[in-house]
Each structure stands twice: as structure tokens, then as C-alpha cells.
């Protein structure tokens, strides 16, 4: 055996040259020191003779090798048995591949070639053979096979990823329902990118968390420690909008993504090793983040996982945006339906009174002494017509403002005059509601405003005060303050909770359920739109059961860019 520094044909040439020269010493030298290992074997495999190249490269000495059986140097002795069997039968053996155990325990791949010498009667004399070290070729082959396998695996991973993406698109497309979309996204990347996942979504003031693991039991356990909603930690993908890949995850990393102390303890107990967090963004806004963990499987996230995670997040973000738009549209339709049904009720009320009055007038006409009664009844009917037309005007204002068709007709006016006029106009109603008005005016209250709209603002605030402060006095103050005029309407009614104060200026909102109070409930919204159009501001201060104070501040000067329209 030996390292092949000379290939068999070269060896043949060098021995041939030695033979031609008739130099026996040279021949022996060529055989002994040639790069190829040569050996002669007995019938049972005992090594009768071998050159140094047959054993030294493998770490053996002559005494450790010669006289021993060739079988004992090979990992699979049966291969040698098989070779001997074939040689004894008179066959040649060419390039039999085997593995030799070196003296230090390492292994080398070899190729064995042998032929047999027979006597005249055909009996076995001995076998000759050479050993060629093919370890390098063999390793090359093994490397190539490994590379092939690696390629196949990469292809399979790529296919799996494509499948995950396709499946993600499918399941996201299946439903436009907001809740279902959220649940779908939480499980989207499992199990390929994680053993379990947190899906966080910005909702109003806090973050909502949906947890999901590969198996339902683990999901339940994770849900038990999740707070459900929480304030996001600085540095999380949710806040930074940046992806994060953390192998060798430590406690500091875990603390950034947990929503409760119990959850931290649970993640530590689960032995989380790797985390991948990808933000869901739409038009520069971070909607949420999907965070994936490997624990029990001991896997680590790779750069490819990050790329796949980001692609999934892109698709999920689009699905969230769509589901949100649909939900908003549906909610808006629902609110509008409620409003329409309430508006219908409000319109029917004066109609009911009107119908009774008109029919009773019809009955009276022609009866003796009916003139006075008819005229009183007609006056009452007129009041209901006014109420009806006020409601219709409110409806028209809503649609005008919503369509952006509100135009101010500014002119020189005095706010104290306008408010006084409004109070005068509603004197009867105030009396009927048991509300005594204390009115004060201070300073120069002239300005450039739309008188009709200023009266409307005052009317709406007064109507609100009467409605919710029935039987209690109302203070109305107008005063000049620097470059502004201030209108304050204060009642002593049921008040408005802090939460409701946020909503009452919004469209289709009112703090108290509709059935208890008349009107379309849009008086404050309209007032705010009119104040905004004048470049002013409106605020409310209130405590429950202690009444409410509405304050309107209007600049006396016309804001730049909002000059009065030139009218023909």
C-alpha cells in the first residue's frame, strides 16, 4: 500500500527502464521506494512481502505489517476475504475500493488491484497486488455529494417558503373580517419561522396582543400569562418600525417583548433561544409587529427567515389595512343608520302634535264662537311647524358641512347684540324648561363674523344647556379678551363625564342616549364646525352632576387667508 506518487503506468516504465539497464539494485530500489504500495499475499491473506509504500504512509512499521493478515488492516475484512476468494479462483481484481485503518485510528480510502500466480498444475502459489490511496478523490466525491444534498435542501426550503407565502396570501384573502384577519396573521409563520408567535397591533391608546403556538395546548398556556393589551416597550419593532433578529436571546431582549411579568417568567421557563420580530407597516405607519420565537426545537433564525418574515409582514399589513377600511365603512354605515332612525323619530314628534292640531282645527271651523280657539290652536300648530323646520335646517346644515359647502358671510356685527337676540327669541322655551338666564356682557364685542352662524352657535349651546340643565339657572357671558371675543354658556345640569367630553363635538355622537333628549344630537358638532370656520375654538369643562361650561373663543380680526367673500 502507499501514497500514489507514481501512477501504475509510470511505475511500470521505471521498472522497465531498470530491467533494460539490467540493474538489479535499481530494480529493487524502484520497487521498494516507488510511490505505489506493492504486496505479495499467501492464500489466507497473510502479507508475505510488501514495499514501504504499502505500510509506512499508514503509520505502520515493517514488523507491524509484514507477516500479518491484510484483513486486519481494513475496516471491512470481508472485502479482503472476497478479493482473496476471487484471486484463488484465478480471477483478477481491479480497483476494489476499501478503507484502511491507520495506526493512529484515522481512515484512508484505497483502491486494491491484484493478480494471482499459479503453478503448472494450476495450483495457487501467491497473489500480487498494489494499493492506491484514493482518499483525496473520495473526499472530493463526498464533498460533491454533500454539496448536492445542500442544494436539494436549499431548494426544498425555498419551496417551503413559497408555499408559506402562497398559503399566507390565500388565508389572508379568505376573509375581510377584521378579527379573523388578526387571528390568521398570528399563526401565519408557524411552524416554519417559529414555535410560537406574538402578534401585536396598535389599537387606540394601547397595543393589543394575540398569542399563537403550533399546538392548541401551548397556545392556551401562552394566553394565560398574556395581559392582552399593554404599553409597548421602547426599542421594540412596534415602536422602532425596524425588524430585529436575535439569536442567543437574553433576558434584556425578552423584557423588550413581553406584556407582563408572568409572560417573562414563562418565556424564560420555555427556554427561548431565538427571536425574530418584523413590523407591519403601511405608508410609513407602523400598524403592528409579528414576533416569532424558537424554544423547544432549539432552532435559530437566519437571514433568510428574516427576509421571509418581512415578506409575510408586508402581505399581512395590506390585509390589516383592507380589513380596517371595511370595518370603518361598516361602522360608519351603522352609525348613519342609527342617526337616520333617530332623526326619523325626532321629525315625527312635531308632526304628531301638528297632525292633532290641524285635525282639531278642521273640526272646529264653522262651529259657533270658534274664531278665538282656532287662532290659538293655529298659533300652537305654527310652533310645531317652526320646530319641524328647525330640525330640517339642522339636517341640511349637517349635509352642507359634510359636503364642505359651508360658506361664511362675514360682516361687521356685535356679539352681545346677537346673543341677546337669541335669548329673547328663546324666552318662552327657557321659561317652559324652568331655566332662568343670567346674562352679562363686558367690553367691546364688535367683530367681523357671520351673524346668522354666531346666533346659531349661541342657540345650539343654549338649547344644550336647557336640555341637560332643566329647572336650573343658566349663565351666559360675553366678554372681550385681548384679540378675542369669548362666549360662555354655563348650566347646572347633569354634567358630562370626562370620557364623553371627548366625543360630544363629534358627528353622530351624544353623551346621553337619544331617547331621553330631543334634537338630532348634532348641535354641538355643528357649533364646533361653525366656530372652526371662524378660526376660533370651543371647549367644555364639566363634572358629573355639577353642570357643564361651554366656552367659545373667536378672533376679532379675520384670520389671514380667510377674508370675507366679496358678494354682488
Amino acid at each position: 500500500m502507499g501514497v500514489l506518487s507514481q501512477s501504475p503506468p509510470e511505475l511500470a516504465q521505471s521498472t522497465e527502464r531498470a530491467l533494460l539497464r539490467g540493474d538489479a539494485g535499481d530494480l529493487e530500489e524502484a520497487l521498494e521506494n516507488g510511490g505505489v504500495g506493492l504486496h505479495r499475499l499467501a492464500r489466507d491473506g497473510t502479507i508475505l512481502w510488501a514495499n514501504r509504500a504499502d505500510y509506512e504512509p499508514y503509520g505502520y512499521s515493517a514488523s507491524e505489517y509484514l507477516g500479518h493478515n491484510l484483513r486486519t488492516f481494513h475496516v471491512q475484512p470481508e472485502l479482503i476475504d472476497d478479493m482473496l476468494g476471487r484471486l484463488v479462483a484465478g480471477q483478477q481484481v481491479l480497483g476494489l475500493e476499501s478503507v484502511v485503518v491507520c495506526r493512529d485510528g484515522s481512515q484512508r480510502h484505497v483502491s486494491l488491484t491484484g493478480t494471482v500466480r499459479l503453478d503448472e498444475s494450476g495450483g495457487f502459489v501467491d497473489a500480487h497486488g498494489f494499493t492506491q490511496d484514493i482518499s483525496e478523490r473520495k473526499q472530493g466525491e463526498l464533498r460533491a455529494a454533500a454539496e448536492r444534498e445542500e442544494l436539494l435542501r436549499a431548494e426544498q426550503v425555498a419551496r417551503e417558503r413559497l408555499t408559506v407565502l402562497a398559503r399566507a396570501s390565500d388565508s389572508l384573502a379568505q376573509s375581510l373580517d377584521y378579527e379573523r384577519t388578526i387571528q390568521t396573521i398570528a399563526g401565519l409563520a408557524l411552524p416554519l419561522l417559529g414555535d410560537f408567535a406574538f402578534f401585536d397591533l396598535h389599537e387606540l391608546e394601547s397595543v393589543r396582543r394575540v398569542v399563537r403556538a403550533c399546538d392548541p395546548e401551548a397556545t392556551l398556556k401562552l394566553q394565560q400569562t398574556s395581559a392582552g393589551t399593554y404599553q409597548p416597550h421602547a426599542g421594540s419593532a412596534l415602536v422602532s418600525g425596524q425588524s430585529e433578529l436575535q439569536n442567543a436571546l437574553d433576558d434584556a431582549g425578552l423584557r423588550r417583548v413581553v406584556d407582563s411579568p408572568e409572560q417573562l417568567a414563562q418565556l424564560q421557563a420555555l427556554g427561548v433561544v431565538s427571536m425574530l420580530s418584523v413590523p407591519l407597516t403601511s405608508q410609513g405607519e407602523t400598524l403592528g409587529a409579528l414576533t416569532l420565537f424558537f424554544a423547544a426545537t432549539g432552532r435559530q433564525h437566519t437571514e433568510q427567515d428574516l427576509a421571509l418574515g418581512e415578506e409575510l409582514a408586508r402581505r399581512a399589513a395590506a390585509a390589516i389595512v383592507n380589513a380596517r377600511l371595511l370595518k370603518e365603512a361598516r361602522d360608519a354605515i351603522g352609525v348613519r343608520d342609527d342617526f337616520l332612525s333617530m332623526a326619523g323619530h325626532e321629525l315625527r314628534t312635531p308632526l304628531t302634535a301638528l297632525q292633532l292640531q290641524i285635525l282639531s282645527i278642521t273640526k272646529m271651523v264653522g262651529q259657533p264662537d270658534s274664531v278665538e280657539k282656532v287662532s290659538t290652536r293655529a298659533e300652537k300648530a305654527g310652533k310645531n311647524v317652526l320646530r319641524l323646520s328647525a330640525l330640517v335646517n339642522e339636517l341640511l346644515d349637517i349635509s352642507r358641512i359634510s359636503a364642505g359647502r359651508l360658506r361664511l358671510e362675514r360682516g361687521a356685527m356685535d356679539m352681545a347684540d346677537a346673543v341677546r337676540e337669541v335669548l329673547h327669541r328663546h324666552a318662552d322655551e327657557l321659561t317652559k324648561h324652568g331655566c332662568e338666564v343670567h346674562f352679562t356682557a363686558a367690553g367691546d364685542l364688535s367683530g367681523n363674523w357671520d351673524r346668522v352662524r354666531i346666533e346659531q352657535i349661541a342657540t345650539n349651546l343654549l338649547a344644550n344647556a336647557m336640555k341637560y340643565g332643566k329647572g336650573k339657572p343658566i349663565e351666559v357671558r360675553v366678554q372681550r379678551e385681548d384679540g378675542n371675543a369669548r362666549l360662555v354658556v354655563q348650566d347646572h345640569g347633569i354634567g358630562i363625564s370626562a370620557e364623553d367630553q371627548q366625543r360630544i363635538f363629534q358627528r353622530f355622537e351624544r353623551a346621553v342616549s337619544a331617547r331621553h333628549f330631543g334634537g338630532l344630537g348634532l348641535g354641538l358638532w355643528i357649533a364646533r364646525q361653525l366656530v372652526d370656520a371662524h378660526g376660533g375654538s370651543i371647549h367644555v369643562a364639566s363634572e358629573m352632576n355639577l353642570g357643564a361650561t361651554f366656552e367659545v373663543v373667536l378672533p376679532v380680526e379675520v384670520p389671514p387667508g380667510d377674508e370675507p367673500e366679496v358678494r354682488a
Binding site: H345, R348, T349, P350, L351, T352, A353, L354, Q355, L356, Q357, L359, S360, K363, M364, R377, K380, K383, N384, R387, K432, R515, H516, F517, G518
Partner: protein, 124 residues
């Protein structure tokens, strides 16, 4: 005073109440008015008992059904016939559920209103 006695109207909308009051007073009825269930219970405890109660369903403080429950709990009041006034499309079912004498659908026709008051005040 006409018929079997005075009428108690329980209605929160002042304009509707005024119109109903006018129609019934034209017919010679004596009518008392409360703007919600609580006010009505107060009136019933101090005033002479009415021959019929005309009851609106949607009102603040105490609505129609709540008033009806309180009325039935008080043996001195439970026998007074009640006529429900409502624009609710399910008025017939609701009236049945409340166990009242009758109902009138809003918008009201004066003849219908007078007729139902007439009949109910003579029903007892």
C-alpha cells in the same frame, strides 16, 4: 267633567302633550299631565285617581314599561286602565306584553284618541 273621570297623560314631549291636552279638553275631559313615570306615580299618590292613563313608552327618568311595572305592584293603582301611545311598529306586541287595556299608534288621529279614551273610561 266628562265620562268616568279625569285622564292622566304621561308624555315627555311638551308639544305632543299640549296637543293631546287640547283635543281631550275640547271634548270636556279633565286632564292631568306628567312628563315621565316618576312624576306620574307622584301625581297618582296625591291627586284623585284618573279613569284612564295615557302612557308614552319612551321617556327619561322612568319609561313606560317601568311605570307599568310600578303601577302593577301597587294594588291601589293596578286596576286603572292604561292606553299606550307609541310610534313603535311593534306596538301591538308590546301592548300585549305590558298587559294594558289598549294602544293608539302615533301620529295620532283626534277621533281615534277620543274614542279610545271614551271606551276605556267606561270599561271599568
Amino acid at each position: 267633567m266628562k265620562g268616568g273621570g279625569p285622564v292622566l297623560l304621561v308624555e315627555d314631549d311638551l308639544d305632543i302633550a299640549e296637543a293631546i291636552l287640547d283635543v281631550l279638553m275640547d271634548e270636556g275631559y279633565e286632564v292631568a299631565h306628567a312628563t315621565n313615570g316618576l312624576e306620574a306615580l307622584d301625581l297618582l299618590r296625591s291627586e284623585p285617581q284618573p279613569a284612564v292613563i295615557l302612557l308614552d313608552l319612551m321617556m327619561p327618568e322612568m319609561d313606560g314599561p317601568q311605570f307599568r311595572a310600578a303601577q302593577l305592584r301597587d294594588p291601589r293603582l293596578s286596576q286603572i286602565p292604561v292606553v299606550v301611545l307609541s310610534a313603535d311598529r311593534m306596538i301591538a306586541e308590546k301592548a300585549h306584553a305590558l298587559g294594558v287595556w289598549g294602544f293608539v299608534v302615533k301620529p295620532l288621529q283626534p277621533e281615534q284618541l277620543v274614542s279610545v279614551v271614551e271606551r276605556s273610561t267606561h270599561s271599568a
